[in-house]
Symmetry: C3
């Protein structure tokens, strides 16, 4: 049985991130670099988008955590990513894999499979991506999932065990699992699907949050807390946009505002359990 | 004589796009990737920005339509684009060329000229770009046009005939022509020129719309309908921004809201003819 | 002693930019391309993001000014930038260096040091970057400064003399110095630090402003005027966002609105001296 993430746990990790201002090294796709940086800044995190081969290797050891997102993967970037992952591991820094559109496209799928051997701290994906990485014949539609998160939970657990990682499969319900224990987050809003890069920036936020964890159990709670914080901010932004009869453009703006304004009392009041 | 696009035609293609949610493979410039993805999502289209050589070839055959935009063309991207275009053609998928700043800069101009042999379904450009592609000594100022669309209509017609394509030359008036028949769209607002990537995202929307067409005549109506939808959303967004004494930042946000909120009644009421 | 920039001087350069609509060739990092283009458009400047080797060389000679920003520097981009700088110099066009995260990362630091031999018209950086370029063992945190601008003023002066350039070191107070004379701008708002790319787009605006200068003294005034214009727009945007209990998302939107709406009377009323 998946266990609801508590408000106390979420608030604890939210406070840690606010107190430490993690420096997250984002190696991400070229559609969402700006949005990811702004989402992290709003959430009290310091983003850095270092891409060059040698610099990425140096910086991955300096940063608090590393994000690898394969949304627009190309050869040079893949090489730099591999070096950065190795460097983060040597330095004992957590790293998060976002396997955008894995299962749809061959090059990135193979690359992500290879990276699963590098002990990612967390793999954060949509249901179709997680199903594909777990070896099931799932296929999304571009970067969009064609499955619900419930359908991918068993695959997420198996993938977590096989790759000795934490898998966060996100959708209407988010499940965060290490294969044995599973946390669930039921917050969120469909408008999050109408803005590009929300999943990608959530993965970057997960990297920030797990940088404050001291062991795998904490990493699972931290990853789930990032999902909850992002989903709650999404609810607040959606409520404001819909009250004003506005749409995805305004929602995206309010999402940044809500990430910045979040506090413990709001988390306490909003979290579903 | 150019014929006004009717509201019924526009509504028909708008409904088709809403019903089918086309998957548009965007190979575009790195200034507008995020904005293009958000504009497509707002308009009910599913964007995918696949760039890597082998993946682009695979994906162009899967997607509903392909967009080629040369705004920040580089060698590796040009090679991947060529493969994607060939793949789209083999799969019978429509593709749209946006020749950003053709005529100003030599590398992209030569590349665009080459692509004209690959039977683009539509070429969507500003007047200076269309004049340049048609072989006239026009020159824009960077990505901006220094000509009105009326000045480019004759060139657009000639280009359409020579390249056996549809040319959409957009400005205060948009003309969509196959060289024999010409449709015109008179909607729009000057604030559209104050936000980067509006033309680029219109080209992506044209790709989505032509994916719902079953022959060349329908493709012309579909392309014109995309121009009308985008221009009407621009009018709505401009009206809201100006009423509130706001500027291009707010306008861009409202443009996404307006694309999402559009419906048949609004198209009916707004379209000029 | 640093001298306050006067409102008359600021208005003079603001008017020149509005009258001439400079065409700024931006070779910048892939996090901020869209934001930079929109900030320039809002400020009445025409942006062009030309990246390809041969095109960058051609375009740097056509444009009014060139911006080099090393935020996501990679080998191919570095080569194109070197050609563009040489071309701008041959054509007598001003160019601005934004040494993002110099001192933190080795590859870009070496590249920026090399470019200091190419007579940049202005170097615009945060205090940590300027300290690092001046050879002091300063180190920022990713792209963020860990020093105040006062701490970097002496280094800025030394760097200006050694590289025969103008150095603009920006923070709570902005200092613009050629090593002998120093101008200061005390406008601005902390929310500017909460949106990615504000410093980067300020550097692009500095390039636009210095394109209207006829000698080094004017270039210093023009660079300072760009800093003042940007900082005043930041104050206006922050005031609006805070009055409405909004955050960095809304602030970024209002910043573009404020850049577009700025006029002489507002500059007159807002400038601190």
């Amino acid at each position: 049985m998946a266990q609801f993430l508590s408000s106390q746990t979420t608030i604890r990790y939210w406070q840690r991130v606010r107190a430490t201002v993690p420096l997250v090294h984002c190696m991400t796709n070229n559609v969402v670099t700006n949005w990811t940086a702004n989402a992290l800044l709003a959430a009290g995190v310091s983003p850095a988008m270092v891409v060059e081969d040698s610099e990425a290797e140096v910086f991955a050891a300096i940063a608090s955590a590393l994000l690898i997102n394969v949304g627009t993967l190309q050869t040079a970037q893949a090489q730099a990513m591999a070096k950065a992952v190795a460097s983060a591991r040597r330095a004992g820094k957590p790293w998060v894999l976002d396997p955008v559109a894995a299962g749809v496209l061959p090059y990135r799928t193979a690359f992500c499979r290879g990276l699963l051997n590098e002990m990612p701290t967390v793999v954060r994906g949509n249901p179709s991506e997680i199903l594909a990485l777990a070896g099931e014949a799932a296929q999304g539609r571009g970067a969009d999932s064609t499955h619900g998160s419930d359908e991918a939970l068993a695959a997420a657990k198996r993938l977590a065990v096989e790759a000795k990682t934490i898998v966060a499969v996100t959708g209407a319900t988010d499940y965060i699992t290490d294969g044995e224990r599973t946390l669930r987050v039921d917050n969120g809003h469909p408008l999050l699907q109408r803005v590009t890069g929300t999943g990608c920036s959530l993965s970057a936020l997960v990297a920030a949050y797990v940088s404050t964890a001291s062991d795998k159990n904490e990493a699972m709670e931290a990853a789930a807390s990032a999902c909850a914080v992002f989903a709650i901010a999404g609810e607040i932004a959606a409520q404001k946009a819909l009250e004003r009869s506005e749409g995805p453009g305004s929602f995206a703006v309010y999402l940044l505002d809500a990430l910045a304004a979040l506090d413990g009392a709001t988390i306490e009041r909003r979290i579903r359990s």
